[in-house]
């Protein structure tokens, strides 16, 4: 079957519209990505990258404790942050959806997002003002006489977790709220008709139905948290590095591109695994 002249002209036009975006993504995303994947299989001699194919970088990552520990720390922190954020965000989302009058709900949500409109770097710095030894929380607690010595709230894991939870509580409140507000009141009426009390209705009806919102938020939390460099770098101190920090270290003083590339791809593989694990819920959300 041969295309008519008209069809060929139409097809040329279609390509003319699509090509700029495709070329941009091809040149500045696909090619760099493929090159990076190749580099991760090459080695480094001094500051030069040598194109000899080997799995050494990946093997080194899993064998060398100081590199692999970054992944372990990242996973631990991400898990802690995700759980705390869900536990804190769910009641808030519920209160906004159920107890705040309809006309004020949008305002309540905008207020919840408002503080996140600073620069990300500035936000982590602000937490330093709150959590450092002479910071607001320690000064207040000392003044109240609750503690005798300032608490170590920053330059350690506590600082990183608080900084992360701050952002992800907001994010999860949004995804869970979106889910709660879509629930038809008929479900609750039916549960009440069948004799369920408020707690039973929540536990057996509302909670399972809002699980997609929780999972979408949890997935986003996982992905954004495990890939983040700024919050741990500013609030976490130097004793315990997360994977993105270890990657940046390879780049900085050591200029070890192949190692950094290999570790980035491991990070990406973990995110992909998380996506596959959550795909069931992420799909449900789309319909």
């Amino acid at each position: 079957m041969t295309a008519t002249a008209l069809e060929r002209a139409e097809r040329r036009k279609a390509w003319a519209f699509a090509l700029p975006a495709l070329l941009w993504t091809g040149f500045f995303f696909l090619v760099p990505f493929a090159y990076m994947a190749a580099i991760s299989l090459w080695t480094r001699q001094g500051r030069e990258i040598v194109a000899t194919w080997t799995l050494d970088n990946y093997i080194a990552f899993f064998e060398k404790a100081h590199l692999f520990k970054g992944l372990v720390v990242s996973l631990e922190i991400t898990a802690i942050v995700t759980v705390i954020s869900i536990v804190l965000a769910y009641p808030l989302a519920w209160i906004i959806a159920e107890r705040v009058p309809k006309t004020w709900q949008r305002f309540a949500l905008i207020m919840a997002i408002l503080p996140f409109w600073t620069s990300y770097v500035v936000r982590s710095y602000s937490w330093l003002l709150v959590l450092s030894k002479g910071g607001v929380v320690n000064q207040a607690l000392l003044w109240l006489g609750v503690i005798a010595e300032p608490l170590e709230l920053s330059a350690n894991r506590t600082g990183t977790v608080i900084g992360f939870v701050h952002f992800f509580v907001m994010l999860l409140t949004l995804t869970i709220y979106a889910n709660l507000i879509q629930l038809s009141p008929n479900y609750r009426r039916a549960a009440a008709d069948l004799g369920a009390n408020a707690f039973q209705t929540f536990w057996h009806v509302v909670l399972p139905l809002t699980l997609p919102g929780v999972m979408v938020g949890a997935f986003l939390t996982f992905v954004l948290c495990i890939g983040d460099y700024i919050t741990p770098q500013i609030l976490g101190g130097n004793n315990e590095l997360v994977l993105p920090q270890v990657i940046m270290l390879q780049l900085g003083r050591r200029a070890d591109f192949p190692m950094a590339a290999a570790m980035s791809l491991v990070l990406m593989a973990i995110v992909t695994l998380a996506y596959i694990a959550c795909a069931r819920w992420l799909k449900m959300e789309r319909t």
Partner: protein, 262 residues
Amino acid sequence: MRHLTTALAATYAGLLYLFIFLPVIVLVLFSFQDGTLPVPPLNGLTLRWYEAIFADGKLMAALGNSLIVAILSSAVACILGFLAAYAFARYTLPASGLLRGLIVAPMTVSTLIIGLGLLSVLNLTGMRLSLLTVGIGHVVINLPLCFAIIYASMGGHQVNIERAARDLGAKDWQVTLLVTAPMLAPSILAAFFLSVTFSWDEFIVAFLLSRFDVTLPVEIWSMLRSGLDPRTNAIGSVVFLVSVAFLIIMELAVFRKTGKSS
């Protein structure tokens, strides 16, 4: 009982809102600190840290750089995204699912990987790191978003209007530019504003792909090396104010309008 749960709910929400607002309140409050440490006690109020940052040439240059990069890279991302969305919505391309997947692919990859990849290729080609390379990176990050937003709003109901325009003698470029683009203005604007805010705030790619001319987040980053400093509070408060102004404009100009028409 009812009163008790309401009181509990109000207390809980109040505490969480306090948690959410605490850092920004402290940031702004101690930007007026009359002293060199932006932590309690508050010695008095002064505007001298604001004077200091507005007199700081490097910081103001970084602010200008950030605005330029954000606006230009978002404009490019919107134009490319709009054209591609038009192609996929109005024509049938071979393997269109795969190609659409390619355009949104960067959204699924962390910015660290996008930055590292671009950096290694730029090293290879010997291209100098500059605001241009930062801008290229930001288009890569924002193009998927712009494409997705605009593509989602290209419904079938606009096709008839485009057909009418063609029947009345409009050329293809006239249809796209004078008929389709204005119809999609709300979603194009939303995409533009959203990518401006992302670019304005983006750190990793800007950090990896710049050298002498840097954007504001990178400049603030280097200010952090001097520890707690009221100047950082002041510039942070300015950024917050600009962003909130932006949010209000967006809320009024874009979302109100689309909310009403739908």
